[in-house]
């Protein structure tokens, strides 16, 4: 039977190549023209433990991987234990029964991978590609697409490509000749989507940085931010970027601050623990008015927490960390495409207002896959208050009296970096006058403090008027019985969940991406005329941090919170169920008959 949507799961121990296998299938399906969402899960273990990769492919736009898998590659026994809630009767398992004993009564396609490898004289390490080939044959991916995907996956490494392609062919052929009794999940022919690329959030962030013109990226590895560093190192030579792994996160942030002061776009990336160490520098950037950009890729805390899992627990930390009051930008992209765009916007805004910016990602976005339209090459790069070197030279030659912290109506001062003939410039972490010299004179100090804070108003206004700080999905809020508030990648599961909830409730989803300065006016406008609706925040945390922020900033009270703290992202079906249950409990809504 042909379907709109198919979901695959590849499970195996760390080092089994389950994630590579899944990614290759995702890639092949995307190349065929399906809409793809991919998610992975792995432990903080290099070999052993259990890893999983989910691919959901569809002829229509989909947003999130869901609970149930149609086809499962089981490379280890754990696959049956850990994912027991993700199977239904129709689920088909592909496995080598010499390696894994399936539970009774499930639909199994036995692929003798070990035997095939032995016969072909191939190493265990390519066993996963035999599975890729087998899955391709099972669900109808032409072998060609698998080959192409393998090429993309192992790009440049010729012998690896070769042997994996051979393995895939073997798996494909094996499966093509066995007879299978049960229905295999096969997709309807794809619709034309136009060219697409498969990206993780971190790849999109790195590409955004490349596009934005980042010249210095300094970082200390930390999951789930490390892959930004890895990616940027790979392109550093081609793209004129100094990409550095340094001794700790303090050094990373300070190098970025020094580079920003010296005139370039500079960024760093980390997770909560490393961000903690950057907080002092964040405050310094607030005082020195340096547009540093920090990617805060969230994982569950507190502390080391679950290093390889996903969460949205650091929103208020991002918004309020740092001593003293100073403006900052906090923006949380909702998907991979958005990550590219928001990184570029963050740099433009940071440099226009001379404030630090934080890009809030969660691991699910950072490392999850999505097929997105080709990222645009034509985007506005606006260096705002940064005076280009040549222009600065001219200005100074013509006698321009430059004050690095000139008091202005908007609070923004022009920035000239050191190195201009005839000009010396200054920056200062203590309270300072317009020239950048220390002051404790009460009036001057107040004036400068308020100068900096004045930017908030203009920044907020710009975001509200020229950017898209929030998005509304579903019916108009004023017509909704149910209002759901969310942010970051959680939006994806919410949107799919609302599809499932369907006609039962007329629902509106409000997703906020520019979280600080909070877009109060846009929020109020969006909620204009709302009825006495059920309000729920759906966030990947326990306390409902967005709900808290909204209340603080607008007074609007969100009555319920659906959170999650097991490190696993929301899946649409269970989420939909919870929403329905909650709505019923609140309003006594009956299936099919909303009040």
């Amino acid at each position: 039977m042909e379907r709109d949507v198919v979901q695959l799961l590849v499970g195996g121990s760390a080092g089994s190549g389950s994630i590579a296998c899944g990614t290759i299938l995702a890639r092949a399906l995307m190349e065929m023209g399906y809409y793809i969402v991919g998610d992975n899960e792995y432990p903080s273990i290099i070999r052993g433990g259990h890893t999983a990769y989910w691919v959901r492919a569809s002829v229509k736009r989909i947003n999130e991987v869901d609970e149930f898998n149609d086809l499962v590659v089981a490379m280890d026994h754990e696959t049956f234990i850990r994912h027991s809630m993700e199977f239904r009767e129709s689920t088909v398992f592909i496995l080598d029964s010499k390696v894994v004993k399936p539970p009774n009564g499930v639909k199994v396609i036995d692929v003798p991978v070990l035997k095939l490898l032995r016969e072909e004289g191939m190493e265990l390490v390519v066993g996963n590609s035999i599975f890729s080939g087998a899955v391709a044959a099972a669900i109808g991916i032409p072998l060609d697409y698998v080959h192409k995907a393998i090429e993309a996956q192992f790009r440049g490494r010729k012998s690896v490509i070769e042997v994996n392609s051979r393995a895939a062919a073997i798996g494909y052929e094996y499966l093509a000749q066995v007879s299978i009794d049960y229905d295999l999940p096969r997709l309807k022919p794809p619709r034309p989507w136009g060219p697409r690329v498969l990206l993780t959030g971190n790849e999109a962030v790195a590409l955004g940085m490349a596009k934005a013109g980042v010249k210095v990226y300094a970082s200390y590895p930390m999951t789930p931010a490390s892959t930004i560093l890895h990616y940027l190192i790979g392109i550093s030579k081609d793209k004129d970027m100094a990409v550095l792994q340094v001794e700790n996160e303090i050094a990373a942030a300070q190098i970025v601050a020094g580079a920003a002061w010296a005139g370039v776009r500079a960024a760093t990336g980390t997770s909560g623990g490393g961000f903690s160490l950057m907080v002092e520098t964040l405050s310094m950037a607030g005082m020195m008015e340096l547009p540093i950009v920090i990617v805060l890729a969230m994982r569950p805390g507190p502390s080391t927490g679950m290093a390889t899992m996903s969460a949205q627990q650091d929103l208020l930390f991002a918004v309020f960390s740092g001593h003293g009051e100073f403006p900052r930008i906090v923006v949380a992209p909702i998907d991979q495409y958005d990550a590219y765009i928001k990184v570029i916007e963050a740099f433009n805004l940071a440099e226009k207002y001379r404030v630090p910016a934080i890009i809030l990602e969660d691991k699910h976005l950072a490392e999850g896959h999505r097929s997105v339209p080709v990222l645009p090459e034509e985007v506005a790069i606006d260096r705002g208050a940064v005076v280009p070197y040549e222009e600065a030279v001219k200005l100074v030659r013509n006698g321009f009296e430059y004050k690095p912290y000139q008091v202005t109506k908007t609070g923004v001062s022009l920035h000239i970096s050191p190195g201009v003939p005839g000009l010396v410039v200054r920056t200062e972490s203590s309270e300072h006058d317009e020239g950048g010299f220390v002051t404790i004179a009460p009036h001057k100090a107040s004036e400068m403090y308020l100068k900096r804070l004045r930017k908030i108003k203009y920044l907020r206004k710009e975001i509200e008027e020229k950017y898209k700080p929030l998005e509304v999905h579903g019916v108009k809020p004023s017509e909704a019985d149910l209002l759901i508030f969310t942010w970051g990648s959680s939006l994806q599961a919410v949107v799919d969940a609302m599809e499932i909830v369907g006609g039962e409730l007329s629902a509106s989803v409000i997703s906020i991406s520019y979280l600080w300065p909070f877009p109060r006016r846009r929020f109020r406008e969006a909620l204009m005329g709302v009825k006495d609706a059920i309000t729920i925040s759906v966030e990947h945390n326990a306390l409902g941090l967005l709900a808290k922020l909204i209340r603080m900033e607008t007074g609007f009270r969100i009555a319920y919170h659906l959170g999650k703290v097991d490190g696993r992202p929301f899946r649409p079906s269970p989420l939909a169920e919870k929403i329905i249950k909650l709505a019923k409990a609140v309003r006594g809504v009956k299936h099919g008959s909303p009040r």
């Binding site: 195996g12 121990s13 080092g15 089994s16 190549g17 432990p43 903080s44 273990i45 290099i46 070999r47 052993g48 433990g49 490379m75 280890d76 026994h77 754990e78 080598d96 390696v99 991978v113 070990l114 490898l117 265990l124 390490v125 066993g127 996963n128 035999i130 599975f131 200390y220 590895p221 930390m222 999951t223 490390s226 560093l229 890895h230 190192i233 790979g234 792994q245 001794e247 700790n248 996160e249 623990g273 502390s303 080391t304 290093a307």
Partner: protein, 294 residues
């Protein structure tokens, strides 16, 4: 690898999640053996470990264990030791943990000569975060973050520790468990801050510094007649690296420890068992704030 690895189980009944063949296994066994050989009771031993493959050891040792954050083994261990000097406090770090993010604590622990032992699983890479360069990565070494070869000089922890005046400095090798146990025992017997840098092959991310590679180069200082009381000799040996790599005890000197010198810990029972109920402040108000009692 389509066949799942069978992972060993620690005495703590936890699955050991290191890669098969990892150099961490022998550090674990040598340490447990050293403690047992010395007849130390498990409840008297405190393991403080950082974050990294190395740091997992706290889950596998049958002793008191604190698995703290990345880079902070030394100060946390110091807090424990200060409060209860009767405990044997041993830190376990990775080379990233000890020499990158946590390096600031090393010179100061050495200055203080606090009686904490630091065992560094030096595998020349960040293992747990998938093989980035570390401060001990060789120049030219290819790692995930140095695709064209590392351009930084590696740090020399042995030379650094000796030159800063550490009271016990040794290097071990994961491929020589017997010798490692001997070093651990010496360190456990030593009073004062002790650094034991262990050359620990990472079989997954470092394909150069294999057991074989080390075996071809390594010799024991103990076999070479090195005298660990000789500071200058120790420092000279510290710079030996290449065709011949010394392992063993480079330097040892008995100096007063921090706990022995700090007035409040230098005598009396451990702070943890001293009563707090009898604390008065009235005397302070009189002495420091001019309160007159009538």
């Amino acid at each position: 690898m389509v066949v799942p690895v069978k992972q060993p189980v620690a005495v703590t009944k936890r699955t050991i999640t290191w890669c098969p063949g990892c150099g961490n296994f022998s550090i674990l066994s040598a340490f447990i053996d050293a403690v047992n050989d010395l007849g130390l009771e498990p409840w008297k031993v405190v393991v403080v470990s950082g974050i990294g493959c190395s740091g997992k050891i706290a889950n596998y040792t049958p002793f008191n264990g604190a698995h703290v954050i990345h880079g902070r083994v030394i100060p946390f261990a110091m807090g424990v030791k200060l409060v209860n000097p009767e405990l044997v406090v041993v830190g376990f770090s990775g080379d990233g943990d000890a020499y990158a993010i946590g390096i600031e604590h090393l010179p100061h622990a050495i200055r203080r000569n606090i009686d904490v032992k630091l065992i560094v699983h030096n595998n020349k890479v960040f293992g747990l975060t998938t093989g980035q360069a570390s401060p001990t990565s060789d120049k030219g070494m290819i790692t995930r973050t140095t695709p064209w070869g590392n351009i930084e000089e590696p740090i020399n922890p042995i030379a650094m520790a000796i030159s800063l005046g550490a009271s016990f400095v040794a290097r071990g090798f994961s491929g020589d468990t017997g010798h490692l146990k001997y070093l651990f025992k010496e360190a456990l017997r030593h009073k004062g801050f002790s650094l034991i840098d262990v050359l620990q092959p990472c079989v997954t991310y470092d394909r150069v510094h294999t057991y074989q590679w080390y075996r071809e180069r390594i010799y024991r200082l103990e076999d070479a007649g090195h005298d660990p009381v000789n500071f200058n000799e120790a420092l000279k040996k510290a710079y030996e690296w290449g065709d011949r790599i010394p392992i063993g005890l480079f330097y040892r000197v008995r100096k007063p420890t921090f706990e022995e010198v700090l007035p409040v810990t230098s005598e009396g029972p451990p702070l943890v068992v001293r009563p707090i109920s009898s604390r008065t402040i009235r005397d302070l108000l009189v002495k420091n704030h001019g309160l007159t009692l009538d």
